[in-house]
């Protein structure tokens, strides 16, 4: 992909010209490529390694209106020791909660080394005044969040008002301070792969540390082809600028098989550099139990069942 041109200086017209100058995505080709990579077979020791890597990449998430401090504490306990019967299971990468529950999660995870990620900026719709979004971010950071998952203003993006989206991401980036910024593109609402590519570049250029597919509240959430497009974007962005940005598919990843397909996609698209929790995450809640069940199948030799793992 020919993106030797580093994104130009500000100016709404310049930004627009750059984003629309990005090469188009071959939709059929992307679908086909993702489907072909999904047929790779990962077995035995490679599967065991991949499962452990996937567990270490999970952002264990609870984003419900009914979240209680107790539920968040239980989730944090699970994040630190995913399988209480097996100490060799690695802890997950982070726990992802709403901004008002960050304090509870930080306290529960104290000393475990697991970061707390918080969704902010009027998640999941993103429909709030900028001041409210920034206050949300600052509150989460002040409560100890190490990572902020913001949503872009899809309305502005789809209206072609890229400068507004850009300015908003930059403002949130500023409000984050030292916290990592993940930018949620909500690809299910962006309609085309071309838009996904544009939104990815826009977010990376505005300072995102991670680009994330979805909130999990909109269907379709993460899909393999969309993640493929985003992985190509981070690869090309590093080639163009030297800065490395991570990718986080979220929503709809429920089985070990799905997770392994994503790992194959990362390895084949962005490259093995991205096969680390620092640069690739899986936003999920029910996925973790399936990973643990598959892991136990490998260690004990019999199929496991959901009765033997926590409900969450």
């Amino acid at each position: 992909m020919s993106t030797e041109t580093v994104p130009p200086g500000r100016g709404a017209a310049g930004l627009r010209a750059f984003l629309h100058g990005l090469p188009g995505v071959d939709r059929v080709g992307a679908d086909e490529r993702a489907a072909r990579l999904a047929t790779r077979s990962i077995k035995t020791t490679a599967k065991a390694q991949a499962i452990d890597l996937a567990i270490a990449m999970v952002d264990l998430t609870t984003l419900e209106g009914a979240d209680t401090p107790g539920k968040v504490r239980a989730l944090c306990a699970k994040a630190a020791r995913p399988d209480p019967e097996d100490r060799s299971v690695p802890p997950v990468a982070a726990v992802c909660v709403y901004s008002d529950l960050v304090g509870v999660a930080v306290e529960a995870l104290d000393g475990t080394g697991i970061g707390v990620a918080s969704v902010a900026t009027a998640f999941p719709s993103g429909r709030a005044p900028l001041a409210a979004k920034l206050a949300d971010v600052r509150a989460a950071v002040a409560a100890g969040a190490a990572e902020i998952d913001m949503v872009i203003d899809r309305g502005a993006f789809l209206a072609g008002d890229y400068a507004t989206v850009d300015a908003e991401i930059r403002a949130v980036r500023e409000a984050c301070g030292d916290a990592h910024l993940k930018v949620i593109l909500e690809t299910g609402e962006l309609v085309t792969y071309d838009n996904v590519r544009r939104a990815s570049w826009l977010a990376m250029d505005a300072g995102a540390d991670f680009i994330k597919t979805s909130t999990g509240k909109v269907s379709p959430a993460a899909t393999l082809p969309v993640t493929l497009v985003m992985l190509e974007a981070v690869r090309d962005y590093r080639a163009a600028t030297g800065r490395t940005v991570g990718v986080k598919p979220a929503g709809g990843i429920r089985t070990t098989k799905d997770a392994l397909k994503y790992l194959v996609l990362v390895n084949e698209t962005a490259g093995p550099d991205w096969l680390t929790p620092d640069l690739f995450r899986l936003g999920a809640s029910s996925l973790l139990n399936d990973l643990l069940m598959q892991r136990r199948k490998l260690t004990t030799g019999v199929y496991s069942g959901p009765d033997h793992f926590t409900l969450d």
Binding site: G301, Y303, H308
Partner: protein, 286 residues
């Protein structure tokens, strides 16, 4: 061959998992022969992954099936008997292929329908017979009620139809869901029976039928941590002990009792084996 000669459309015998008829994940099959040793058809030879998929389907179907009213379950079981009766000629033909004489095949189908209806009638009577209002010396009521165990794995005996029906009906009548390994020498009537199940309003996944090698499939079923009970009636005496040991991993109920040929009284032991009795206390006047 002239152009007006018609080519037979032969049935591909597949598995029955989650209400659908998939081929084995492994793509394998094995030849099934008739009584004289002649080739009948290829049956799917299920693999451990088919067992896994079947258990997942059965687990998914369990909450819905067990929550139905016993009356509704009974109605669906009656409907299955009606469908079975309607396909009587087809089953007689299949059983004759499997080696039964003309009279014996007809008698076996009749016995299978009667056995199924006998169990269907139990749907709304089990709670009254297996449960109880217990006497207590205090201001309480206490009730014991039978509840289904969960997912039941069955290894059906060799018989082509009556054995299958006798192993299956007592499992699902009380609200359990079933994963059944069909008769190894005569699996074809079992798959035809799955077509009866699929057209009888029985929710997908309540019954999952696998064909293949018992010795290969039974250990996976026995060890599976999401199976709650095991019916080893079709397993040879010598294989029972290792399977029962594997079943101990999650304390499965293990049941093994020859199917009774007596049409009058199949007995309630098979139904009771897959029930759990729950006793609850209610204060009076609150």
């Amino acid at each position: 061959m002239t152009s007006d000669q018609r080519v037979d459309v032969r049935k591909t015998y597949k598995l029955f998992i989650g209400g659908a008829f998939p081929r084995s994940e492994s793509g394998r099959s094995y030849p099934v022969t008739g009584a004289e040793g002649g080739f009948l058809a290829n049956a799917a030879r299920a693999s451990r992954k088919d067992v896994r998929d079947a258990v997942v389907a059965a687990r998914k179907a369990f909450p819905g099936w067990s929550a139905r009213t016993p009356y509704n379950r009974g109605q669906i079981l009656y409907r299955i008997a009606e469908m079975l009766e309607g396909r009587r000629a087809q089953f007689v033909a299949e059983l004759r292929d499997a080696g039964l004489g003309k009279g014996a095949a007809g008698a076996e189908v009749d016995a299978a329908v009667d056995r199924w209806v006998w169990y269907a009638g139990w749907a709304d009577k089990l709670a009254a017979v297996a449960g109880n209002a217990n006497p207590v010396a205090g201001p309480f009521f206490t009730f014991s009620t039978p509840e289904p165990t969960g997912v039941v794995g069955s290894v059906a005996p060799d018989g082509p139809l009556l054995d299958l029906v006798s192993a299956l009906a007592p499992v699902i009548v009380s609200g359990n869901t079933a994963v059944v390994v069909a008769s190894e020498p005569a699996p074809l009537p079992a798959i035809t029976f799955a077509e009866v199940l699929a057209t009888s309003d029985l929710p997908g996944g309540v019954v999952n039928l696998l064909t293949g090698r018992r010795a290969e499939l039974a250990p996976w079923l026995a060890g599976h941590m999401d199976v709650n009970a095991l019916d080893l009636t079709g397993v040879a005496e010598t294989d029972v002990k290792p399977l029962a040991e594997a079943a101990a991993g999650n304390l499965k109920r293990v049941f093994r009792d020859p199917v009774r040929a007596d049409a009058e009284d199949p007995g309630t032991a098979r139904m009771q084996a897959f029930l759990e009795i729950k006793t609850v206390w209610h204060p009076v006047g609150v």
